[in-house]
Amino acid sequence: MKVWVVAVLAIASLVFGAAVAPIDGATGPDAVRFLGRFHPLALHLPIAFLVLVPLLEACRLFPRAAWLAQFAAPVLLVATLTAFLTVTLGLMLAAGEGHSGDLVDKHRWGGVAVASLAAIALAIRSTLGAGAHSRAGWAAYGGVLAVACAVLMVTAHAGGSLVHGPAYLAEFAPQPIAKWLGEKPHDGAATVDDRGDLPVSAATIDRFESGVRPLFGRYCVKCHGDGKQEANFRIDDLVAGMTSSHEVHDWHRVMDKLNTHQMPPEDARPLPDDERTAIVSWIETAMKEEARSRRANNVTAYIRRLAKREFNHTLQDLFRVPANFASRLPPDPRSEKGYDTDASLLRVSEVDLRVYIDLARAAVDRYVTFGPPANEVEQYFQEFEDNYFYGRWRAHHLSIARAPRPVPADEFARRVAAHEAGEPVYHEQFLGALPFGPISSGAEDEVAGARGYPRRHEMFVYIPTRKTVGEMVVRVHAAATPAASDGAFPRLRLEVGESYDRNLLALNVGEVDVTAPTDEPGVYEFRFRLEDTRSPPNATNGGGPGRFDRPLLLVFSNVARHPDGVIGSSRYAQEDPSLPDAIRVRGRLPGNTDEVIEGDRVATEKLLASRPGLLHLDALEVSITPVASEPAVGWKVARAPDGASLGDEQKIIAGMLSEFLPIAFRRPVTDGEIQRYLDTFSLLRKNDEPYEVAVRETLAASLVSPEFLFIGNPPPEALFDGRDNAADIERSLALASRLSYLVWSSAPDARLRNLAAAGKLVDPRTLAEETTRMLEDERSRRFSDTFVRQWLHLDDLGNGTVSTDYYPEYTPELGALMVRQTVATFQDVFHNDRDARSLFTDDYLFLNDQLARLYGVPGVQGGDLRRVRMDHDIGRAGLIAQPSMLAINSNGIDSNPVKRGVWLLERILDDPPPDPPPNVPSLGADGKSLVGLTLREQIEGHRDKSACINCHKKIDPWGLAFENFDATGAWRDEVSVRLGDERISRVVDATTVLPDGAEVHGAGELGKYLLEERERDVMKGLVRHMMTYAVGHELDILDEQEAEVITDMFRTSGYSLKHLVLAIAQSDAFAPGNLETKDG
């Protein structure tokens, strides 16, 4: 019985081991992998011994050989032991090397079964003893042995398939045997039965089955098949029918790898050139068939919803007002490449629809007014020295009582004139400089909780208006004393919003460097829409929780920085009995302890001693113009005369609709369409709606219609039916929208609409002229801004990207500035038509004082970005080494060469690496010590692992070139690493050997390498990115062929980005539905 217990225990532990072994595709510890690799060696022992056992047992039947049978039991023992050993090693191998898949499972459980059966056989054999007293026992023994051998065969075959590929045996076997051996028909083949709707033709699929699939079996499936999925990719799963964009994408990847000879790898069975060509040309054919079939079906992003920013710009242009119409819409999803124009992702859910309805109603309520413009400008004038803002809530009512009051126009003019005539008198509180580092902004986030009182660098002014909509103009008379040390000027910022108790919720509406001398103050103007700021609750919009209306608050501040800068409470937020205070307030502001006040006093003295730039405020002019009084804003609808009939009203509205709808629908409208909206108007009137409501509702309805919300709707046939050039008109109308949304992110203007309505845009010259005209228009900056942000993933730079614990001087404002720098660099090249290659050089940088500090460039003053010529090599390389990119691709504390490498491959070279496999172990998970290693060394460590190396040797070298830049993008020569509780400094090494063998030292050389050795790849990357943005879907193979041609045109133009836009606008990829291209 003992032997049975041992056998059962052994089997149980093996089954348990097999079940818990982490066979999940992730690699394991090195020791496990080392031992595991003896599995292929050891496995021959159990195979040999186990096969030997029946032979030995059979010897009993032959008297002369019967003595050999005595060895059967010992041999079976050896076979069992080695089987257990082999299975154990195999489990280690599979877990260590990262194998997984059905075939691996089959092999694993086969192995376990063989070992278990051998153990059972051994146990039976030992209970039988020498005698033959149990016939049944011998029969059982024989049976188990036979099954063990059979399972052994199957398992060995599975193992062979794992190593040599599933078709190994079948490949050269005679037909009947091959058929028997052959794997069951592939999943992919199953879809072939249903050939009716496949985009790929039956003949092409047949060619795949006969000519291509066998090649995959021979060269690819060993590493990309059932057993092993290198790079997380299985080639035997690919479906020849290409029924989804996913499949096309995968095929594309295969083609790229074969074309560039990246696959099969050097150490694998070489793929002869003719066979390589056969595969590639098959994929090309199939992909073209797929692309053509898709175009024939008009599936190529013909129609898509407006993106959020397009919706906003369209309404801005429709209502002729630069207000924000879309702030309540959720952000749009980004495509795999990062663009918000992907037709397949832009949807209208029920919730979206409700938001669209609300936004449409809000727009017409604000910007559709009735009757001729009135003149209701509200004006305020205030000498700053008279401004009273007692920054404590207990005395709020005093501040409000003493706030400026609106004055009539003549009084306003008189006061301004009187002011101009006199000598400037400044408010006694000068606005001093801020220290470096984060300053709580008072924006709508948590720091607002600590705000609400003016500070050392701020001045609060209440404007007790009840208006919430309209243009607000704030003119500040101010002057500066420049800093003694370097002549730096103060920078005036205006924020507008509300303060309530300890909360300040205000929006930054602008900033300007103040340079006027104190004897001749300048006037600095801020112009913005009141509706875009945060209007405090007042009597006209519901009222706040306070006992009175809360006034609108203007916050003037000096945001210039200085090493001795101070953030302290202003005198007006502290207890000071000498202040002109009608009541005595006891107590202090929260947090204003004696210590704090004294510290503030000392710091302020120190600041003044170092004589920073100071801001002096003189006087303030404010005007608020409601929409009804702005002649150029919104739509002014005539009022219906008293007693007008419905017919009279309809006449007014019909006229209005015939102007409004063509802009909203981006094309001429038919009489039928106008009539339908008139019917809506009439219905509303009949339902007793007032005239104004009916007009607004009717217009709002057009703004939630698919004609408005979607681009690319087929135009009504009435617009071209029966005309000689019907096809030209139809195509021109589609082109007009696509073009204007590409270049302007908005609707076509009247000129473009008229050309389209006449069918003129099909003429390439007209199309070129129009594109050029639109590119010269100011609105084309919407394109350059959006494109560069999405292309380079600039929006990834958000709060928290950089750790302010490690970089105390970093602020979210600096992050926003970095992004603006990159945008400015791109826009400079784009709109001034410079050579696009200069995006990758540092001849000029866009800098202001803060960025210049980060770059270590001296002598740049002021907060506005300007183009600064660099007269020496700064070791960067234009866009790719600007702080924005470096900060985005960091971990917040240190550089991240992997992220930087991936970014460069994706964004610049358009050669994205595959997604990382699931279950990637983190650095250090293998138990290796990372102590004292730089991130570079840690990463080089992970490249030793074979599971990672294939991808990372293509990624990391690119990122390592940027090692001279920390997580904020500032230059560094040393990097600090953790050693126990301490941090030590290590010298930075930015030398790297690129995948093609070129060695570069740092980012500057990398930039040169890219321009000299990879110019076409870089430019083609840019072309393909811009095309993806423009066409609204991933490029298909026909688009890519055009990309090649467009890249050539781009080069011939001297890499003019405007020419690139033009080339894309003229391409077939941009304007699908062109019948000529369907057969091409």
Partner: protein, 459 residues
């Protein structure tokens, strides 16, 4: 955009969709006249209501470490497991309800492990991955509302101390729609909640009907050409427009439903029984929170809604709730309490006392529910209501081991009076899914759930 949605059985879904336009006759019954017999008379055969109230308190709870003299007494979690656990001081206010609630420890949303706390409120009931590009996803209360919300005038009630939606990382609401958009919480004052629930629309019925008609005519006008458009589109394009059209149709259904409720008077509730103008700071947080809880209770007892979420304590350092401890006479705001516990001698105790204050409010709410006979079903309101109370962090910055109390729902099958602990790594979504199923929602999975928990027995 891939979104993880709960899978609701199709049959069950159809059943509930069929019921969408049927008005529950019980809704017209007023609180004043409410008694169970009357309710039975007007709604024979109606399913007994199952209710949910989820409450969130931000910034975790005090957990003095072992070795600290307060560890034994003031640690939020009881030290023992199972039915024989001893209530720690922060939980003592619940002593009288011992067999009506359970303490749960160990659970958390694994998707939130990498984030730096203070930002968990928006994900508490959704389990979405904050790093996923699609943004947030539907919260469990809205899953229930989609299934059962049509049975009441308000499909669900979302309230909070701050009110509004907040922003992505500082959510002021626990409820998120299917699309991942926040549902702004009604808050600021109890009066806002009362007005939403019980104030009568001052406009006459004709004006309200007119407003519905306006909505209808807008949608009619918008889609009038859709048919001629669709006939000329490829299949892919047609699918996109179909989606739009479906949204239009669903919105119209909503309008119809809202109009159908027009003839059903709202329950008459006397405003004077609540401290509707309780200010969280000047009147003290107790008066404010209690008023909010009372309104939830009244919403349930009048069957105005069966689903409520309440963000009682926001996580932002700037939240109104940060002042609560100061209003209680402590010298620190909540945020400081939870960060500086080891900087002063009584740091731990102050924090724990504040936790206890919150539990006291909860206890009063539970007692109120337990003391009210359910007008529509057997047992007390609490027996037919699941109350989920907890935080998205254990200590302030630790996004694991959520402190959780599940109370009520005994008639729905929950067993209580025990401290249940689950292994680290078991998704909190498993609990949310379990509660959904207990509430009768035939969901098979929710967010990243990997299974359900057995809450039906006291182990």
């Amino acid at each position: 955009m891939a979104r993880r949605n709960p899978r609701v059985g199709r049959r069950a879904f159809l059943k509930s969709a069929g019921a969408t336009l049927l008005l529950p006759a019980t809704a017209g019954m007023t609180y004043a006249s409410g008694n169970r017999e009357a309710a039975r008379l007007v709604s024979p055969g109606a399913d007994a209501p199952r209710r949910l109230c989820a409450i969130f308190v931000g910034n975790g709870v005090a957990m003095p470490p072992p070795g600290n003299p307060l560890h034994e007494t003031w640690h939020w979690f009881p030290h023992e497991l199972g039915p024989d656990y001893k209530l720690t001081k922060p939980l003592e206010p619940l002593a009288g309800l011992r067999d009506q609630f359970s303490v749960i420890s160990g659970l958390s949303h694994p998707t939130l492990w990498p984030i730096y706390a203070h930002t968990t409120a928006g994900y508490f009931l959704t389990g979405a991955d904050p790093q996923a590009p699609g943004g947030n996803s539907i919260s469990m209360d809205q899953v229930m509302a989609e299934f059962a919300g049509s049975r009441t005038l308000y499909p669900s009630l979302t309230i909070g101390t701050e009110g509004g939606a907040g922003d992505v990382s500082r959510s002021n609401t626990l409820s998120y729609m299917q699309s991942g958009q926040p549902i702004p919480a009604i808050g600021g004052t109890p009066r806002a909640v009362f007005n939403e629930l019980f104030s009568v629309d001052n406009r006459d019925k004709a004006a309200q009907v007119r407003s519905f008609n306006r909505d209808r005519s807008m949608l009619d006008a918008a889609v009038q050409q859709l048919n001629s458009l669709q006939s000329r589109l490829g299949p892919e394009d047609r699918r996109r427009l179909d989606e739009y059209l479906t949204s239009v149709r669903n919105t119209e259904t909503r309008i119809d439903r809202a109009e159908a409720w027009l003839d059903v008077p709202k329950p008459e509730v006397d405003a004077s029984q609540f401290q509707l103008d309780a200010d969280p700071v000047s009147d003290g947080p107790a008066a404010f929170l209690d008023a909010m809880y009372q309104l939830v209770h009244t919403a349930f007892v009048t069957d105005s809604t069966r689903i409520a979420t309440f963000q009682a304590v926001g996580e932002g350092a700037g939240a109104i709730a940060k002042e609560f401890p100061k209003a209680l006479g402590m010298d620190r705001i909540h945020h400081q309490l939870t960060h500086e516990y080891d900087k002063t001698e009584d740091g731990w105790e102050n924090w724990a006392r504040y936790d206890r204050f919150q539990v006291e409010r909860l206890a009063l709410f539970l007692e109120l529910l337990a003391g009210t006979e359910d007008p529509f079903a057997d047992g007390s309101l609490l027996d037919n209501t699941i109350v989920l109370y907890g935080s998205g962090t254990s200590e302030t910055h630790v996004t694991r081991n959520y402190p959780i109390i599940v109370a009520g729902g005994r008639n729905l099958g929950l067993a209580h009076g025990t401290h249940r602990r689950y292994d680290d790594g078991i998704p909190f979504s498993n609990l949310l899914l379990t509660l959904l199923q207990t509430l009768g929602v035939p969901a098979e999975s929710f967010a990243d759930s990997t299974g359900t928990l057995d809450l039906t027995a006291v182990a």
